[in-house]
Structures are given as C-alpha cells and as structure tokens.
Amino acid sequence: MEQKPYGWWLPINASANNGGIDQLINLVHIFMAVLFVGWGIYLVYVLVRFRARPGHKAYAVHKHFRLPTWLEIGVAIIEVVLLVFLSSPIWFRVKKDFPPEKDSVLVRVVAEQFAWNIHYPGKDGKFGRTRPELVTGTNPIGLDRDDPDGKDDITTVNILHVPTGKPVIVYLSSKDVIHSFSLPVLRVKQDAIPGMMIPIWFEAAKTGQEFQIACAQLCGLSHYRMSGQLMIDTPEQYATWMAEQEKELAQENAGSDQTAVPADTNSPAGNTSNEGSPK
C-alpha cells in the first residue's frame, strides 16, 4: 500500500502494535463531529427562529425537555465505552504487556541537552554499567568499558536503528532535564525524566529511513532541534548495520590503549536494573 507519509491528518503509522491509537483518535473525532454538528444545527435554528422581532415574545413556560437528558446519558455512555473498551485496553497493552526481553531488541535511550544517546547492549544482551563521572565528549553516557558487560556495547548519537518484525524495548532516561521521546510515526511518546529509567516498547511494521525522533518537552534553547533519525530497517538491514558497528568497535578496541579505571559499584546513575519500574 502506497501512502503519502505525511498529510493533514495522522501521519503514516509504521507500527505493528499501535494501530488502536489511530482507530481511537478517529472514532473520538467522529463522535466529536456528530455532537458539534448536532449542536451547531440546533444553535443556528434557534438563533433564527427565536430572534427578536415585532410581534414575537419570549415564552416563560418551563417546558421540560426530555431529549437533552437522554442526550447527556448517551454522551456519558459513549464516554464510558471509549474509556473502558478502547482507551484503557490500549494503555494497558502499551504499559503492561511487555514482550519478554529475550525475544526483543533492547536499547537504552539517554536524553541530554540536546541529543539522543542510543545504547545497545551488544552481543551479550547485557548493558554495561554507566557512571556519571565517566562522562566525556566521546563517551556521553559514561559507559564503563571495563565492565565485562560493557565491552561489546554499541553506542550511537541521534541515530536509532530498529528492525521490523521484532518488539523493541526502550529503557528511557535523561542525564539533565526532562525531555520527551516522541516517535510520531510509531505513535510512541514517553517523558525522559532524570533519576528514573522508564521502559517502553513498540514493534515496527513498515520500514523507512526518513523518520525522526522528536523531543516533545521543552528542554532548553535548542529544544527545537533536538531531533534524531529513526531508521526502521528490515531484519537483514538491521543485522548488517549491527555487524558493521561491532566491527568498528573491535577496530577501535584494538587500536586504543586500554587504561583501567577503578570500578565504583555505588554509582547511582549506572547499574540500574533492566526492569526499571515507572515509580
């Protein structure tokens, strides 16, 4: 299906799991339009019919209208239906039904003024420890390469590659202020809050190399250009890209003289467990 990615309504939906959000948005807007047009027709009608003119007098008889009561009950029922049968189930699925970690692509996203640091666990599937005191210009997340889990970790800045057909779990955190990780084409949004690591998940269905990560929460003077690239790859493309990254890392490791840094196990920002709960 060829669809123009961006228009005047919802943009292309590249996700496999968030179609319900689009349905809900469309349904709610139909409901809103019906109510508004209904009210509007009534309003125009009464404004014309009951305009002041010679010979016309207002009547004070308090007619009890039954229709509005039913209308209000109807509105209440529709809202309950939207809430209980549509909105809540979607929210529960997004927030609670996490796919098992072993079947998912794991990635940490660490927001900072004004960039998205992307951190993949590498081959071993374990994230290396990160510590604030190790943060430098070339190591923006303070990854401890001496940690056995961290040796094979892949990091990028502002480029997030995800494959289609496999759930992706993002562990979201922030180094400095509150940001908001927004992927419009995947219907994903989550605030990145310093001091918290919040997991979110999604699954992409459509590939694309032109999509963007946007920051949705005012985070300072360059908030407007805190964007990153979201590359949705086929599983093969993704594997190729990952292999390239691993090769580059191996070359870097071979070339550089590894200096030992004493490990500090009491670091508060690093060492966060993977099942960070939104508490």
Binding site: Y6, L43, L47, A60, L83, V135, D176, L218
Partner: protein, 577 residues
C-alpha cells in the same frame, strides 16, 4: 502624591475622599474592580504582543523581524533574527502573563470585585482594606514579573509550567518569576477569602443562596478554588527558590550531568514532585479561568433572551460539582511521565466524569435559547459565539483525556489548540461580552454598537484563523514550543498553516483597536442610557449609575429569584421588587 494627604483625608470618615484615597489607594470595591480591570487589560495586550512576535518566527523562521528586531536589540535579536532563548522567554511569559496577570485578574479581580457585592445587595466587600491590599500585591507581582525581562539572561524561559530541573538551572529571570508568583498567589488568597466571606455574610435580606445570580455562584466557587488550590504552588515556588538560591535539591535527583559536567547538587530530589504541586494548582486554575466566564454568559444570555435561565438549579449544582472535580483530575497533565495503569485509570476516569457537568452547562445555555426573543446586541453576539467556541475547546479535550489517544497527541499543537479554544474565543469572548454588558453601569453610557460589531466579527474570524489550524498541525505530530518546526519531516505538510495562523494573529490585533478606542471614547462620548438599559432583573441594576460609595440609594431586599423574565403581566421583574 504625598501619603500625608491621604492620611489627612482618611482621618475623617464620611468625608469625600481625596484623589489618592479615591483613585489609587481606594477601599471601594468598585474602584478596585476598575483598577484590576484596566491593569489586567494592559497585561492582556502585552501578553498578546509577545505572542505576535513569536508568530513571526514561526511563520518565517530565521528571517529578521522587521523594525522590532532592531529596536529590541542584539541580545534578543542577533542580526535582527529572534534568538531561540528569547523565543522561549516569550513563550513562558506569554503563558504566565495571559493566565496570571491577564485573565484571572480580569475575570475575578475586576468582574468579581465590581459585581459580586452589587449582585448580593452588599454595600462593599467584607474586608475593604484587604481588598485594596490584594490589588496592590497583585500590582507588585505583575511589575516584578515584567521586570524579569531586564535580568541578565532574560526572563523565565522554562515554559509557564517551569518544570525543574530545567527551571532550576535557568538564568536569574526564573528567580524573579518565582518571586512574582509568590506575590500573585498571595494576592489571590487575600481576594478569595474576601469573596467567600462577603458572599456568605453580606447577602441582603431575602437573597438566599438559591436566589443568587449564576455569576455570583461562579465567583463563589472560583474563590474556593483559589483558596484551596493556589497555596500548593506558593509552597512549590518557595521550594524551587530554595533549590535555586540555597542549594537544596527538592527537585534535583542524584547523578545529573549537565552540559557534560557533573552537577554539584546534593541530589535525592524528584522532578515529578514539582509537576504534582504545579498541576494541583494549575488544573483548578483552568476552572478559575472558565467559571467566571460561564457566570458572565449566564447573565448576558438570560438578559438578551428575555426569558428565565433553563435549569437554574441544575446549572448551579453542575458548577459546584465542576469545582469539586477540578481538584482530582490534575495528573492528566502528566500521563506521559511514566505513570502506571492504576493512577492513569483513576485520572482518566475523573477526566471523563468532569466532562459531564461541562456538557450540562453547555446544554443548559443552548436550551435557554429555546422559546426566547433574542436581541443580537454586542454582548449577546460575544455570548452566542462563546457557545460553539467553548464546545470546540471542550470536545477536543476528549482525545486528550483518554490516555491512549493522549500518547500521540500529548505535548503537540493539538493541546495548544484545545486550551486556547477554551480560554481565548471561550473565556476572553465572555469577558468582552461582560465588558460591553456592564459598561453602562460603570459610566452611564453605552459603547458604540457599530464598532462593537466590527470588533466582534473581526475577532471571531481571526480567533478561528489562529486556533483551528493548530489541530491539524498537532494531528501531524508536531511538538509544542518549537522555535522552528520546519526542521521536522512530519511538519512539512502543515508548515504553511503557520502563515495563516500568524496573519490571523496580527489581524486580531488590528481588530482590537476599535475596542480600545470604543472603551475610552464612549466614557465621555457614548450614548447616554438609563440606570437599567438592558432591562435586567439582578440587583446591580437597581443602583444609581455609577453606583455611589455604599452602592444602593435605598435599602434593597431580594423578593424573588434572579431571572424573572417573560411573566404573564410584566416583561421582566427585578429581584428587589
């Protein structure tokens, strides 16, 4: 003016007060109302002019702002082009000024002060000196807020919500913002206590609670919201001041790395604490903005339909229920903060519940029109337009209140469109209706109908031109508070709408010129009218015009409900007859 002068005159009561006591440090609720009104109208205009500058940058990003860019200077406009920091300052100050210095003082301070004692037949507020203090504390707060532009690094720039840690590390302007907020909230507290006591204690004989006009009911409920919701933000402001000045970490967690440097803070704080305290104020605040508007609409609508309000009791109960519910919906502003399923289910449900009384209010107004004889004067035009505009604002709250659709729409332009429909063509139209409606009581003269209609139609078209496109921009997924949205692929298709919005905004400014001139010229040159030119029933129209000190020429009593129109023998019967 010397204060000796003032003392000398105030020494003898029952004396015609001197200039200072009469016009500046007045304790007369009507003069204080006018002071509030003029000050807040100036702030509204100022807050609006800030956004007009922002709209240039949004429509023509990176192009030098003609004339003003040079005038304001190199710091804010390097090379005539707006700097992103300055854009953020304008955004934060626009929100703050419109809400705290514009609409609340106009809706509550001006309309409430002037009309509430009149409508219940009281001679003045219960605590006239407290009332004066409330105005002057507000004034100091407002001036302080404006002065923040002069600080090194400029005014507050972390949004009107001032979320830490961003606001904790912002330049000095933020400190001034917090100080100003402490003043403004103190002022609201003084005012709200006064309103509540006046409304409970000073009702004239026969004015039972269920004979009070809807406007007074709205002011009473609003006063309770101000009293109960504002102190948490005052406390939170003091905490943030401590974070900024005394090195505490109420809102700063451990392990922050800011611009590549480890932050030297004690840590252990939580940024979400601020959000809870802020929104515990700021959601009821929404109803502080809307309830007085509902009150004004009820008065203008009944007067100009020439029939009783449909479902007075239902309306009053809805208003009370709305006021109560407004305290338990605040966290729907925080759905994206990582909230779990339990909390979000609760706040989602309360948000749906609060929509029911809002629907009832709109329905009541719509039904009031049935069987009416509608006079389309200027106040009524604004009141009529309020209904569909408020409906759009309310309806678009629905997809934002449902958590699932909010995932996509949260913090996009859709939100900006939503709340502006509520407060701009919603509340501000109601305030305009109120100004045109009660102006003859203040001055004995009517504002020009012709220029009023020009003002109305121009504003109506332009308001929609500004805010309707925002829904489409939001639907495309464009984030709020972006200095330049053209950088985003998903913004490309809707980017040109910015030009429509900007031109509408500037045109809206032009259509306010007839209003401003009308407001001042009609004071001396307007058509002279009687004490009760619209044939109203409520007690404020039973006073001489303008109401003298002490308000009523003869003692009044309330003998009937507030809206006795379209009787069998008489077209209308005032409450005091």
């Amino acid at each position: 003016m010397s204060s000796h002068d003032a003392h000398h005159h105030s020494g003898h009561s029952h004396h015609e007060p001197g200039f200072v006591r009469k016009y500046i440090f007045s304790t007369d609720h009507k003069m204080i109302g006018i002071q509030y009104g003029l000050t807040s109208l100036c702030f509204l205009l100022f807050g609006f002019s800030l956004v007009m500058m922002m709209r240039w940058q949004l429509a023509y990003p990176g192009q030098p702002l003609p004339f003003l860019g040079k005038l304001i200077g190199e710091t804010a406009f390097p090379g005539g082009v707006m700097a992103p920091e300055f854009y953020n300052q304008l955004g934060a100050m626009h929100g703050t000024i419109m809400v705290f210095l514009g609409i609340v003082p106009l809706a509550v301070g001006a309309f409430g002060n002037y009309l509430l004692p009149l409508q219940i037949g009281a001679g003045d507020m219960a605590f006239p000196k407290l009332n004066m203090m409330s105005y002057w504390v507000f004034f100091v707060g407002g001036v302080t807020m404006l002065c923040s532009f002069l600080m090194p690094g400029g005014a507050a720039q972390s949004g009107w919500t001032s979320y830490p840690p961003l606001s904790d590390i912002a330049p000095t302007g933020q400190t001034v913002w917090l100080l100003a907020m402490v003043f403004l909230i103190t002022s609201s507290l003084l005012g709200s206590v006064n309103f509540i006591v006046t409304c409970i204690q000073l009702r004239v004989k026969g004015m039972s609670f269920f004979r009070m006009p809807v406007f007074t009911w709205c002011q009473l409920v609003t006063a309770f919201l101000l009293l109960l919701a504002f102190p948490p933000l005052e406390a939170a402001s003091v905490l943030q001041l401590m974070d900024r000045l005394a090195g505490t970490s109420f809102f700063m967690p451990t392990g922050l790395v800011i611009s590549g440097e480890q932050a030297h803070v004690a840590g252990g704080g939580n940024p979400l604490l601020w959000q809870h305290l802020f929104w515990f104020l700021a959601h009821p605040e929404v109803y502080v903005l809307i309830l007085p508007a509902v009150g004004i609409i009820a008065e203008v609508l009944t007067t100009n339909t020439r029939k009783p309000l449909y479902g007075y009791n239902t309306l009053v109960y809805s208003i009370i229920f709305l006021g109560f519910m407004s305290f338990v919906v605040w966290a729907h502003h925080m759905f994206m903060t990582g909230m779990g399923t339990t909390l979000s289910s609760f706040f989602q449900a309360t948000t749906m519940i609060i929509s029911i009384p809002s629907v009832i209010i709109v329905t009541t107004f719509l039904l009031t029109l049935w069987g009416a004889s509608i006079r389309f004067n200027v106040p009524m035009l604004f009141a009529t337009a309020f209904l569909p505009m408020f409906a759009i604002g309310g309806l678009t709250g629905l997809p934002l209140g449902l958590t699932a659709s909010d995932i996509y729409l949260h913090d996009t332009y859709y939100v900006i469109g939503h709340f502006h429909y509520v407060v701009a063509p919603g509340t501000i139209f109601a305030l305009f209706a109120g100004i045109y409606h009660w102006y003859p009581k203040l001055s004995g003269r009517q504002m020009s109908e012709f220029w009023g209609k020009v003002h109305f139609w121009g504003s109506f078209v332009c308001m929609n031109g500004i805010f309707m496109p925002m829904f489409f921009v939001g639907m495309a997924g464009v984030s709020r508070r972006l200095y330049d949205m053209s950088l985003y692929a998903h913004a490309k298709s809707v980017f040109r709408l910015n030009e429509v919005m900007s031109i509408s905004a500037w045109s809206l400014a032009l259509f306010q010129i007839p209003f401003i001139l009308n407001l001042f010229i009609s004071w001396k040159k307007g058509k002279k009218v009687s004490d009760n030119p619209w044939d109203c029933t409520t007690l404020e129209w039973a006073t001489p015009t303008p109401p003298p000190h002490g308000n009523f020429a003869h003692p009044v009593e309330a003998h009937r409900g507030p809206y006795d129109y379209a009787g069998d023998t008489q077209e209308f019967v005032p409450q005091n007859l």
